[in-house]
């Protein structure tokens, strides 16, 4: 297997995640797109780990996984708080900082 096939797959998934973050309005969908990007990063880490024959790639992927889980927990709490205060989960409605 080529190293590049995994790296290119990661790049395509990352690009899709970026598109999602830029174009989605619903807060939960933006969080999902961020997860997509983190999954793409994980594929890169594991592919480089397998390539170099060390376990460092796997260990780093595990750390990324942990941080992704923590991020989703806090992120959804924030989404819930936005929904409770603004009665909307639309990111375009979160403009209270506008003068």
């Amino acid at each position: 297997m080529l190293l590049n096939q995994f790296l290119l797959l990661g790049a395509v998934l990352f690009g899709t995640g970026v598109y999602g973050v830029l174009t989605r309005r619903h807060t939960v969908l933006v969080l999902m797109s961020i997860e997509l990007m983190l999954a793409a990063v994980n594929i890169n880490l594991v592919a480089f780990g397998a390539f170099s024959g060390s376990v460092a790639g796997q260990v780093f992927a595990l750390f990324v996984l942990t941080i992704a889980a923590a991020e989703v927990g806090v992120g959804l709490a924030i989404v819930l708080l936005i929904f409770r205060n603004l009665h909307s989960s639309d990111l375009d409605d979160v403009d209270v900082l506008k003068g």
């Binding site: 297997m1 080529l2 190293l3 590049n4 096939q5 995994f6 797959l9 790049a11 395509v12 998934l13 690009g15 899709t16 995640g17 970026v18 598109y19 999602g20 830029l22 174009t23 989605r24 309005r25 619903h26 939960v28 969908l29 999902m32 797109s33 997860e35 997509l36 999954a39 994980n42 594929i43 594991v46 592919a47 780990g49 397998a50 390539f51 376990v55 460092a56 790639g57 796997q58 260990v59 992927a61 595990l62 750390f63 996984l65 942990t66 941080i67 889980a69 923590a70 991020e71 989703v72 927990g73 806090v74 959804l76 709490a77 924030i78 989404v79 819930l80 708080l81 929904f83 989960s89």
Partner: protein
């Protein structure tokens, strides 16, 4: 080698199509289910690379916990199942341009840098090697991640609490 490449191709195609589904579908629950396919495909790729431990952790943590959290989030924010208005904002074309440019630049760089470097796989990595590394070499990052999880747990409870 050929069998591995066929499996890679099938998984990669499913992952890319589902990823596009995540960012384009009009139903929020479907987006979460498409995300399951992407993450399961990722776990399959890890198995293909002989990295079993992280593959099963991905299944347990991502598909088991994170997706359920997302479904709870969808439920609690009363996301529209059949939305009348679009879930996208009006940045569709600029977003597409940015994403395609990013993939193009990354792809060109990767093809230039790694051309046809092969991954030599002798045997799958054993779990004992990974856990040894986590509890010896990476013990301090491991503890820090533990504290981070605790902080995230407390933070989420404090944020979401009603009073």
């Amino acid at each position: 080698m050929i069998a591995q490449n066929v499996v890679f191709g099938v998984l990669a195609a499913a992952m890319v199509l589902s990823a596009i589904g995540v960012v384009t579908t009009k139903n929020v629950v479907h987006a979460a289910l498409y995300l399951v396919v992407v993450l399961a495909g990722g776990a399959g790729q890890f198995l293909l690379l002989g990295q079993e431990f992280v593959a099963w952790v991905q299944v347990l943590v991502y598909i088991g916990a994170v997706i359920v959290l997302f479904l709870f989030g969808i439920m609690l924010t009363r996301a529209p199942m059949q939305p009348k208005e679009s879930l996208d904002n009006d940045l569709k074309w600029p977003g597409l341009v940015v994403a395609v440019a990013l993939v193009g630049i990354l792809g060109a760089l990767l093809v230039d840098a790694f051309e046809d470097t092969e991954i030599e796989l002798e045997a799958p990595t054993r779990t004992i090697e990974v856990t040894d590394a986590v509890f010896r070499t990476y013990i301090i990052p491991f503890e820090v991640v533990g504290i981070l999880l605790l902080a995230a747990l407390i933070g989420a409870v404090v944020l979401a609490r009603k009073d």
